[in-house]
């Protein structure tokens, strides 16, 4: 493993994230060097109750671009959308054999939640010896042999969209299914390509998972809160709130979940630095959070449910969130309510939907 780039510098580079820097081109040689030390590290990528959005997002990686990732960084032995092989060849040669021969050395990427209702039959992902394999079985078989499991996307990390109430297929996060293997959660619906590539790069460079927060997310990408660095923050501080989409102003009244959402989209921006959720005038829907999407997306935050059947007011949010920053935010937001910047919330206002 190369030592030219210290872990500290690497994390600084990843977290730096001025849009143009992204995972900059000068990171690529280090990854390449790591790869040159031996065969390209083997990665198996499987999809369960997913929409393929995380894979499509990965294709949007810029530095390094996807061609480099696939040809110089990793050996992607199994991926349902890009691989040439199919059927038995894919399952046996691309997955089960690779997992057996590289026990404890390959990395498993999981996209999508794990359905457990109906014995897992709402998601079958292949066949072995004429019998359907449920995704639950595949995650267990392959995951237990992996060096680490990288849960890409909110569905594999926390359950996400299919696991939200009433959770008709009893979807579970991967960490509920596979125990005893270290896991990294890279949530987002979908995750930013930099978060995925940066996590893979860290694992390959240091043979170790990055430092994680309470919800298993790499701190280098999920340490901050949207509201802290939001470009519309000044509006919030000045008590200017958008009432209709297309208006200038803080998006809180239209449902923005920025104050409780952890990620760096504010400074990293999406799609090669083109735009991001609040910059385009939309609301943050909190897609990197374990509770996503339990809350109404276009209703103002204070009545937001956190967990099943629980409703919190903005004053209580600090109790739910971990960390002093969050408490600070909640206090700050609460302060605005007290000073009348954010008016008391009435039921009929929700119904009218001010947009």
């Amino acid at each position: 493993m190369p030592t030219k780039l210290s872990r500290r510098d690497f994390i600084r580079l990843c977290a730096g994230s001025a849009a143009a820097v992204s995972l900059s081109g000068y990171l690529a040689p280090f990854i390449k060097e790591a790869a040159a030390a031996g065969d390209l590290p083997k990665v198996i990528w499987i999809q369960g109750a997913s929409c393929t959005g995380c894979s499509i997002s990965l294709l949007n990686t810029v530095h390094p671009d996807i061609q480099k990732v696939l040809t110089e960084v990793i050996s992607l032995t199994y991926h349902p959308n890009v691989m040439a092989a199919a059927g038995d060849l894919a399952i046996h040669e691309g997955m089960y054999k690779v997992a057996e021969e590289n026990k404890g050395k390959f990395y498993l990427v999981v996209e999508g939640a794990v359905p457990t209702a109906f014995e897992g039959l709402t998601c079958t992902v292949g066949e072995i010896d004429g019998k359907p394999i449920t995704f639950k079985q595949m995650v267990t078989d392959i995951g237990s042999k992996a060096a680490a499991i990288l849960n890409f996307g909110t569905c594999s990390a926390y359950g996400g969209i299919p696991a939200t109430g009433p959770n008709p297929t009893e979807c579970k996060p991967v960490s509920d299914i596979v125990k005893g293997v270290q896991q990294v959660n890279v949530p987002g619906c979908p995750p930013h390509p930099d978060w995925m590539i940066g996590t893979i790069a860290h694992v390959l460079l240091y043979n170790d998972i990055p430092e994680l927060d309470y919800h298993g997310r790499p701190k280098m990408f999920f340490g901050g809160i949207i509201h802290d660095n939001c470009q519309r923050r000044q509006y919030f501080d000045n008590g200017i709130f958008a009432k209709t989409f297309g208006d200038p102003g803080c998006m809180l009244e239209l449902g923005c979940k920025g104050p409780i959402s952890h990620c760096d989209a504010t400074t990293r921006l999406w799609n090669n630095g083109t735009n991001w959720c609040v910059k385009c005038g939309a609301v943050c829907i909190g897609c990197t959070e374990p509770e996503f999407p339990a809350w109404p997306m276009y209703e103002r935050m204070p009545e937001m449910p956190v967990g099943p059947a629980t409703t919190v007011t903005v004053d209580q949010i600090g109790l739910v969130l971990a960390g002093a920053t969050a408490v600070g935010i909640a206090g700050h937001l609460g302060g605005n309510i007290l000073t009348g910047r954010v008016g008391p919330h009435k039921e009929e206002e929700v119904k009218e939907g001010e947009n």
């Binding site: 059927g87 004429g130 999406w270």
Partner: protein, 485 residues
């Protein structure tokens, strides 16, 4: 006679299972079944109806804009509002950009490896060998374009993001319009990006499809299907609350038994006889509520079977181009209804869409500084919203019933792949198979151990699920297992 299992078939979105029965080497029956159910329509029940645009676009990460558009049209319809011109145009630009992205991704990264031999590294290896016929130099060029196309499709997403905020899963589409505001710099940025992409489409994508079609011209005779075409129409060109009648870039209409007719959404129904849901649902999409039944006898799919006036209908670029009577496609005659006809129609459409996006962006310059969104109110009495559009893969409809307390009561998405890959309906002599099942029946499978024909037929429809292929004898005994690329 053989039963062959290919599971999963890769390079399509999602999970699918197909069983095929052969006599001699000709397919005599086909059973196509979706292998993933997430219950997103069930999840919508009881939610704030406005969440539909965000929740339902997560049906598919390849074409989220289609579901965002159908979802939002249903909401607009339910709320009795429509976007101002700037909002309408920006929605078209968002959706159009993803058409370009999706079509390029489909041809090069999902379908091309059926005809083009990839390089000798993972994920192009391992593979099974098929009848790769392209001359070496054309093949090399196609591989180079495959790699270039990875960049171009990414740039198409970036172009979309100028208006959409982020992709996949677009943020800026909201009830009554969009959230992003047009200005000259964004329009210029969009046009600059579009020009490069248009160049790729006209000089690389369309010529590659034509080269492949020339060498594999016998594929204009494979995979006929039902030859009934359905298009809801999409990309409104004018204001007006009647979404069916208003002028659109893609016309709505049907083509049944050789006759062109106007679209009547009232005759769209859904059937679950062979799907893993409890029988006795209301056939109308605005009322149907599903209860899963994973062990239902005779069922073989998680997909419902949509029918138009009882008919199985093909949807997608070929249907749109046929309904729009595009000369290049109609001139193919009956050969249009084929594997190559579908790839050809998709390529032609991509070029059309790039040209249209340019026109829309120019039109948008008239509306800089104008409102992008019409305010809405949640309904206080029960209403039904219908959102009909054309996803890149074909006709897409969302039906959304909202209760008087302003919550979602019933949600139904009838998606392109359930039209194309629907299971059968009826039984005995009245059995009506889905369009893809029909397209597969009668196909000669030259090598039972390498049924490349079946996967080529499936992928030409650009389906949206993972797929397993079974070729079985009447006694359903497996004699070989293998995979193809």
């Amino acid at each position: 006679m053989a039963k062959i299992i290919v599971d999963p078939v890769t390079r399509i979105e999602g999970h699918l299972k197909l069983e095929v029965e052969v006599e001699g080497n000709v397919v005599v029956d086909a059973f196509m079944g979706g292998a993933l159910w997430r219950g997103l329509e069930t999840i919508m029940q009881g939610r704030d109806p406005r969440d539909a645009e965000q929740i339902m676009q997560r049906i598919c990460g390849v074409c989220p804009t289609g579901h965002a558009t159908a979802g939002i049209l249903a909401l607009d319809d339910a709320f009795g509002i429509e976007p101002p011109p700037a909002g309408r145009i920006i929605r078209n630009l968002i959706f159009g950009s993803n058409y370009i992205q999706s079509h390029i991704l489909h041809f090069f990264h999902l379908a091309a490896l059926d005809y083009v031999k990839g390089p000798e590294i993972a994920p192009f290896k391992p593979r099974y060998e098929a009848d790769f016929r392209l001359p070496q130099d054309v093949n090399d060029q196609a591989v180079a374009i495959y790699l270039e196309a990875l960049t171009v499709r990414r740039q198409a997403h970036e172009m979309l993001t100028i208006w959409g905020g982020k992709m996949p899963h677009v943020q800026a589409i909201v009830p009554g319009g969009v959230s992003e505001v047009p200005d000259t710099s964004k329009i210029y940025q969009f046009l600059t990006s579009l020009e490069k992409i248009t160049d790729f489409i006209n000089k690389k994508y369309v010529p590659t499809v034509k080269a492949v079609a020339g060498v594999y011209s016998d594929w204009f005779d494979v995979g006929r299907g039902c030859q009934n075409m359905l298009a809801y129409g999409a990309f409104p060109q004018e204001e007006g609350m009647d979404h069916i009648k208003k002028k659109k870039f893609f016309n709505s209409g049907v083509y049944i038994d050789g006759q062109y007719k106007d679209l009547d959404p009232k005759v769209i129904t859904e059937d679950v006889k062979y799907a893993w849901y409890k029988d006795g649902i209301d056939p109308s999409p605005e009322n149907a509520v599903l209860t899963p039944d994973a062990k239902k006898k005779d069922a073989y799919s998680w997909m419902k079977a949509p029918r138009y006036n009882g008919k199985a209908m093909e949807v997608g670029p070929l249907a749109r181009q046929w309904i729009n009577k595009t000369k290049d496609v109609v001139d193919l005659g009956p050969k249009a209804f084929s594997v190559m006809g579908r790839h050809f129609a998709r390529a032609i459409e991509t070029a059309q869409m790039a040209a249209a996006c340019k026109d829309w962006a120019m039109e948008l310059t008239k509306y800089a500084g104008q409102p992008v969104c019409t305010p809405h109110k949640l309904p206080t009495k029960e209403v039904v919203g219908m959102g009909l559009t054309e996803a890149s893969r074909g006709a897409l409809g969302h039906w959304h019933r909202i209760s008087s307390d302003g919550r979602t009561k019933v949600y139904n998405a009838v998606v392109p792949t359930t039209w194309n890959a629907s299971p059968r309906t009826g039984s005995g002599a009245a059995t009506l198979r889905g369009p893809m099942e029909q397209a597969i029946i009668g196909t000669t499978v030259k090598d039972a151990n390498n049924p490349v024909e079946l996967v080529r037929i499936i992928r030409a429809f650009d389906p949206c699920f993972g797929c397993a292929i079974h070729i079985m004898t009447p006694d359903k005994k497996t004699i070989s297992q293998f995979a193809i690329n």
